[in-house]
């Protein structure tokens, strides 16, 4: 087995898990640009119900459609988080009245209990790049779709003093889903917070 970090996208049964196909390449690119972490050049898709899930320290889950985990998916996710994995769930609708948010938080509460808001002082915001104001905003939040709110915090399920499940309503899946060639025209790389998430998953 390779010791490289491999970015994994979760494949689940009920929704459009593949809705941010360019996000992995952009996060991998940023991880390569800013860190010395050994990383695989492309990501993988990992079924949430499979044993392969446990080969990856960080798994990204997103979508617009209802999140209804099967019994196997739910059991796997619970075991994954309890045993030290980091599952990031990002609401591609950025809509707290949307069905993704409602069904995903319903599933999370059912599996782990209620989500807890992360304070701005949390290690996640300072473990590599410094984000003193908490999670960086996205241009998607005020684009007229979704709930049109700027979400000030992220929520999480913590285990053993570290985040096991990170929940975001900020729609990073849209913000970071640009073509990789676009990054060179950007004055500020929006994916730097993604580096923090990966570094946190690998080091905490």
């Amino acid at each position: 087995m390779s010791a490289e970090f491999v970015f994994a996208t979760a494949q689940y049964d009920s929704g459009d898990w593949e809705s941010a196909p360019l996000l992995p390449a952009n996060l991998i690119d940023s991880l390569v640009r800013y860190t010395a972490v050994a990383v695989a050049p492309s990501g993988v898709v990992v079924p949430l119900a499979g044993e392969a899930l446990f080969d990856y320290p960080l798994v990204w889950l997103t979508g617009h459609l209802p999140v209804r985990w099967t019994a196997r998916e739910r059991a796997n996710v619970t075991r994954y988080v309890e045993r030290g994995g980091l599952l990031v769930i990002d609401d591609h609708n950025h809509d707290i009245d949307g069905v993704f948010h409602k069904t995903a938080t319903d599933e999370i509460t059912r599996a782990f209990g209620p989500l807890v808001e992360l304070p701005k002082t949390h290690d996640l915001y300072h473990c590599f790049f410094d984000f003193p104001n908490g999670p960086p905003g996205t241009s998607q939040e005020l684009n007229g779709w979704g709930d049109n709110l700027v979400h000030k915090t992220l929520s999480a399920i913590e285990r053993e003093g570290r985040i096991g499940l990170l929940y975001s309503s900020k729609d990073y899946s849209s913000e970071w889903n640009f073509h990789p060639e676009t990054k060179r025209f950007m004055t500020d790389d929006p994916t730097k917070f993604g580096v923090n998430i990966i570094v946190y998953a690998l080091t905490r």
Binding site: M1, S2, A3, E4, F5, V6, T9, D13, S14, D16, E18, S19, P21, P24, A25, I28, D29, V32, R33, Y34, T35, V39, P41, S42, G43, V45, D55, Y56, P57, H64, L65, P66, R68, T70, A71, E82, R83, G84, N93, G98, V99, T103, H126, C127, F128, D130, N143, W145, R159, E160, G161, R162, S174, P180, D189, V195, V199, L202, T203, R204
Partner: protein, 633 residues
Amino acid sequence: MSARGVAEARVRAVRRTLATIVIARAVAWGAAIGAVVHGVGIVVSVRPVADVLAVLAAIAVVARAVWRDRAVWSLAGVALWVEEQVPALGAALITVLDRAYASDAAAAALHPSVRDVASRIDATPHLRRAAWTNLAPALGAVALTSVLASRATPVFGVNAARRDPVASSGTRLIPLTAVVTPPAYTGQRAVTVHDPVTIRGIVGSRIVLTGHGSATGVSITGDSGTIDVVGRDGTWSAEMRIGVRPGILRLADRQYHRLVIVDPIPDAPPVVRLTSPKEDTTARQIAPSATLRLEADVRDDIGIVDAHFEYIVSSGSEETFTFRQGTLGEAAFDGARDARLRAAVPYGRFQLKPGDQLSVRAVARDGNVVSGPGIGASETRTIRIAPLATSDSVAVAAAPPATDTTMVSLRMLIVMTEQLDRERSTIPRSQVVRRSEGLGDQASQVRNTVIAVRDDQTGHGEAAANPLLSTAIDALWDAAASLQIADPHGALPRLLAAYRAIRAFSAVRHYYMRGLQHAPPVDIARERLAGHDSASAGPLVPRVAGDSTHRAWAAAYADGARLIATAPERAADVFTVLRATVRDQPALAATLDTAIAALRARADAGPVLSRVRRTIDGAPAVADSIPVWGRVW
């Protein structure tokens, strides 16, 4: 008053005091002897008999002491005692009182001197001294023997193996009775448990603990604080509710203690199984008049109140997703444990358009008014309408229709090839060649169709091809080649092989393939550390191994195991506390129960405890290499 009357009055007063002293001393010695017999009964484990003997011995001692000092009841005897204490009386007192020696006339003659003597009688200091010398040893004996008896523990006999204070007869914590009354909504009866180690009951059940003796000095502490203990009619009792979490009741009576586990049985939410539709479906279009038949089996441990189907229709793409939600087929089940929920709805109700997704599930509610209601939901089935635009992010390959069409074409091709094979010997060779070439062209067309299906599935080679399709394509190539050289007989097995492969492919459960991710790989060598923003990673800290629950169990097990040799009762207590935390592991809980019972009975708990350890540690994990991210799984 006559001289005799005065003397008698004085002596009677002394007699009352002396009699009180005699009786008090007799009772005290009786109590002391009774306590000694009671204590001996505890030591030799014959307590019920010993208690009877103690009472009899006490009565005998009291009677004996009173009889021995019976002289105190006669005036003459008391007068003699007074004469003995006050020699100055010179036998005048006894003479006056003794009618046999002093007639009334003589007494009258003695009147002045007797009155003089009587006025000089002061028995108070003598009585005080008599009380001290007689009562002090007796009361001392009572105190000493009571202390010894209260501290006695079984040394011989049947109770010797249970020398623990909990098991001794001095505690009011044995016998202990628990009456568990389930919540009213369950309709279940109360259950009485005698001397419980574990009290199990549905969350919200009322527990009434009862024991013998007064409530004074008996205390019960639960995880949430002290529980009131009340006394009535020679018994104590305490009342509490079973909470959501398991807990331990710590009962104490002076130096005695006892642990009782409260193991809540949660009212499980209903188990719901959606039996129709059986699996996810994708369709090009569904007629509005077509019917969606929904069926679900519902089961609950206590009773189902109601159930319904829930649907979500998701429409849109990119940033324009909209949702409609609703319920269908609401039904009340009035506490039934098993039920079947049915509904039939025309698809027109959902107004499905191409690209929409209909998600349905069944939801049931139980009657839990204590910690609920418990809500159970089935798995979700999705019915997708294939989008019209092929460029959609959830683009659907035309796999099902293509394979269906291909199978029809292939069946016809096989029938025609079989017919040609049969007629081959009866028709001219040129006709065989012409017809066979035609069939070969058709086989090639079918093959091209299958290749198109494969390309749709694999994103034109970006993902691995389904081996069934590869088998069909190869077989059709061979079949077409055979037909082109007018060998229909040789082509038939290849056509049949291709048909079997396509049929198997069509039967694959999830034939609906979503759009593939086209994630461009990153040129790591070019991009490495090319970023313009600098950052300093925070200090690294060692990561703790996951699965804190098992580690906590293992630590508690180790604590208990260390105490087995020196303090088995404390070890049993530690395992009892551990037992209270493993309620979701029935096998481990049962094994711990066995181990605790063995430890309390001084039996060999080794084999059982080794099973406990194995259950906690789990089967040894064997890995062929270190996992990628260095975690212990």
